[in-house]
Symmetry: C2
Amino acid sequence: MPARDTDPPTPRKRADAERNKQALLEAAAAAFVDSGVNAPVRDIAVRAGVGVGTIYRHFPARADLIVAVYRHQVQSCAQAAPALLANSPTPHDALTAWIDLFVDFLVTKHGLAEAMHSDAAAFEPLHAYFLDHLLPAVTLLLDAAVDAGQVDPIDPLTLLQGVGNLCIGASADSRYNPRRLAAILIRGLRTTPV
Amino acid sequence: MPARDTDPPTPRKRADAERNKQALLEAAAAAFVDSGVNAPVRDIAVRAGVGVGTIYRHFPARADLIVAVYRHQVQSCAQAAPALLANSPTPHDALTAWIDLFVDFLVTKHGLAEAMHSDAAAFEPLHAYFLDHLLPAVTLLLDAAVDAGQVDPIDPLTLLQGVGNLCIGASADSRYNPRRLAAILIRGLRTTPV
DNA sequence: AAACGATACGGAACATCGTTCCGTTTGCCA
DNA sequence: TGGCAAACGGAACGATGTTCCGTATCGTTT
């Protein structure tokens, strides 16, 4: 808990502004569930009972809104890594379990995995936020597994993006099984027993 | 060469129509190289020196244009499968080699892998075309590898889509290495030697 | 060769996005 | 209560895919 009462070098926001921001977060979360993270801005505005201008004041880029909605889930995914490492039989098991967590998170957020790959500048903050939080997590697990001689070295970023990519289109096609694929990928990482 | 002189249950197209269709194919191919398969329709029209209406007459859905441009490459990729199977030391090697071919094809066509996952109805023909031609190829290789006891069974569609997914965003980020990931995935398919 | 009907053309027009802008409203403090 | 900075709403803009229809062109028929 940061700073109990004295905090405001920032002049303190107006009450209606704060109210609208919360309404927007809830509206966006609902819209994302119904229509995916690419839900039209106007829809979100209507759900929240505000004008579109208000969205852009609170969340200058579309990605900022997405980040705000999923912030907590990304954080808890990242924070799970050390615990998994401590409680799993082997580092490779921990890595597998964490990837499961990550995949579960992504496949339930329609369009999130896709959005991660938009080259549009508006999505750069999203990209950055995910990388900032999740890259350390994979790196931790990967390093441990490599040190244990269980997996061959690989660029953590490539692995993270690869798994993210595998989750694309998961909700659109029921025959497609990203969890299985991610598990196979991690399996393929193992060092060949000589 | 099909039917030398009698062929036309189709009344034979006008010369200008045929000319425009070819111009469009070349213009689209060029635009795809420069801007990816999502190059704006208007750009393609300008390059070809035609109006946008002409595009939609020849290629009712955007996907039809993409299919037309890449038809030959998809076919040769598919046709390579039997030869690889015959000339490789093991079915698993053939599968690996074919996946390499497939990945190389996809990563050099900016945006193609992404387009494969558009849920838009306009892209359904593209999806269908790829599946029609490439699914038999993977299935052949996969079955052979499974029969040889080299790999665990997996839904060929899932594998194909998974590898396709791994190729997304390859050209946008030089640190990302889809070839490596695809190889690891195929590696992960191998049966565990007891 | 001229005329005519079918075919194909071009690009304006429409719908849907994200995003910006600015006149108007509203909360807050003096 | 008055005033002003903060925040608001939604019209307007630009980009995009797609449709539509009046016009031009081709190929054939007279």
